[in-house]
Symmetry: C2
Subunit: 337 residues, 2 copies
DNA sequence: GTGAAAGCGCTAACAG
DNA sequence: CTGTTAGCGCTTTCAC
């Protein structure tokens, strides 16, 4: 584990020069730069990030706070963020809030404050005012993904528009009795999302001259199991069986497909199903869905953070709306008359 | 952002005393300790981990290297490790190798060497000799989970025994024609695992006087889709349809159940299915499986690391064999005659 | 363009 | 039990 001074010695320069040559700050003649680089390479020198951080105040590390690891959306966002950070030379330290209140408190009261991060990315988090306050006290860039945090720049698809699009797809196929399996707040997702998606669904129906029917609504927890149970309720209703189901997540939509099967209903002949996400299993199940691109969202969050950390060094694409896209597969069709 | 000296001033002691009082190293009178604590609390003082690390050489941070985030097993291990680390006051820096060779190289050649971690946990990684060498050069504790790394203490279930148990379950129900959907190496899991599981399967068959039949073997990539395709091959074989399928992962087993359904076969009447993992979806599908407990594995890895970092401070349970457990649900039964 | 030197904020001897 | 004093390894003025 050679230090900067051994490199300096080998290269025959001062430590200051080594620092400049390696970091690119300040001018160094081309000749000495190559000499330093060679020396560093030979000794396999790697800066001590602690010493460097202490001296500069920058850590080259960003904290990512996330409520789950084992759900597709979260994992994908994390993956995107991780690789983007890596490519910028940043480390990612992970704070998972899944373990309940205690972990959550200690993350906000201690861990994030240790000056170990230059910025924080909060994924799909519903923060309390107190928590937001603490984050702001950090006085560091903070960006959210897929939730909405008071006073924090947040990346998230237009849930209302997404839901409208999904519903319109069903309407355009000729469906008139369209059920919604929405989210509930027990699912620990940002609680605004279920409401927005429901709003989009209702708006589309209303625009088509159809009054949203509360009997055609079920709330579930975004999981396959939850979707299955909700779908059973909806599809088993003897007086008002929907010809189409719009589920607010692909996992719930897949649950719906499975529920239909178990009821002996054929998808899409007896019932059309559409979801949101483009989950990794959706293609397998032939699920029509509105894709969102969580890995991209993670990457974009990193871009924003980098922009704030290195102004002028724009990585581009910071302010664009988040993309989503209707992907039509085999789970939707015209209703059979 | 108060520093240690402001706390010292407020408490009317030296910075050294503050350091001692807060860290618990060295003796401080009860009276001053409380005074210091009060001062620290009032100022909301939090140590600068960089300064502290620089001075002590310890970072209170461990690196976790992982090949995927979005597979159940990996996510669960990570979750377990994260919460265990948190409870020890450690941060977790995440290195995801999913992005292909380049990321992988830079993780091993730069990131891990920045002296930012006190130890590394490698999850289900098949490391090259070069990579192992670099890790050892770090001269820091390193433990593996669910793979086997040359010269590294590794936690992993006894894959051979697990496979034997699964096969025996099927045998004991009376099955004689038992197919195996094993892993292939394209799945990026440690390539020893598929071989060991196949070995256990063959051993159990042989012990029961049944010659393993290569026609009853299919390799897949541990995913649901892969399992589905493999199962179709197996179950569609007109001359030798198995009465039971043992899949080396629950995802593949679920794929098998779905494939059976699509072929009009009933599970378990026409074909029994057993998996390995106890995946979060397994209960939903009524899948009989051998549970392994990845979160626990993550936690145990942390325990070992902590033991090595703080000798004497044993957290216990370090050396126990990893548990696994047969969970019988509704996907297995006696073969119908 | 390069070197000398003063810290970054904390910890760990060493005294007392 | 507590204070003084060196650093930990790097970066960054400030001179040259």
């Amino acid at each position: 584990m050679p230090g900067i001074n051994e490199v300096a010695q080998l290269a025959g320069v001062s430590t200051a020069t080594v620092s400049r040559a390696l970091s690119g700050n300040g001018h160094v003649s081309e000749a000495t730069r190559t000499r330093v680089l060679a020396a560093a390479l030979e000794l396999e020198y790697v800066v001590s990030s602690n010493a460097s951080s202490l001296a500069t105040g920058r850590t080259k590390n960003v904290g990512v706070v996330i409520p789950f690891l084992n759900r597709w959306f979260y994992g994908a966002v994390l993956e995107g963020a991780e690789s983007a950070l890596l490519s910028h030379g940043y480390d990612l330290t992970l704070y998972n809030l899944g373990g309940g209140g205690d972990e959550r408190r200690s993350v906000f009261e201690h861990f994030l404050l240790r000056k170990r991060v230059d910025a924080v990315i909060a994924i799909a988090l519903d923060l309390t005012e107190n928590e937001v306050g603490r984050l702001h006290d950090l006085d560091k860039p903070i960006v959210g993904v897929g939730g909405s945090i008071l006073g924090v720049r947040t990346l998230s698809i237009d849930d209302e528009a997404v839901a409208r699009l999904a519903t319109e797809h069903l309407l355009s196929l000729g469906h008139r009795v369209i059920a919604l399996i929405g989210g509930n707040s027990a699912s620990e997702m940002d609680f605004h999302i279920p409401a927005k998606r429901r709003g989009g669904y209702q708006a589309a129906l209303t625009a088509a001259g159809i009054a949203p029917d509360p009997e055609l609504f079920q709330a579930a927890d975004f999981t396959l199991q939850g979707g299955y149970a909700a779908a059973k309720q909806l599809l088993g209703n003897p007086r008002k069986r929907p010809t189409a189901v719009f589920a607010a997540s692909d996992e719930m939509a897949i649950g719906t497909i499975l529920a239909a099967r178990d009821l002996g209903l054929h998808v899409p002949d007896d019932v059309s199903v559409i979801g949101i996400d483009d989950h990794e299993l959706s293609e397998f199940f032939g699920l029509t869905t509105i894709a969102q691109f969580p890995a991209l969202q993670g990457r974009m969050a990193v871009d924003i953070v980098m922009d704030q950390l290195h102004p002028g060094h724009r990585t581009g694409g910071t302010n664009t709306a988040l993309p989503f896209e209707l992907i039509v597969r085999s789970s939707t069709s015209r209703p059979t008359p």
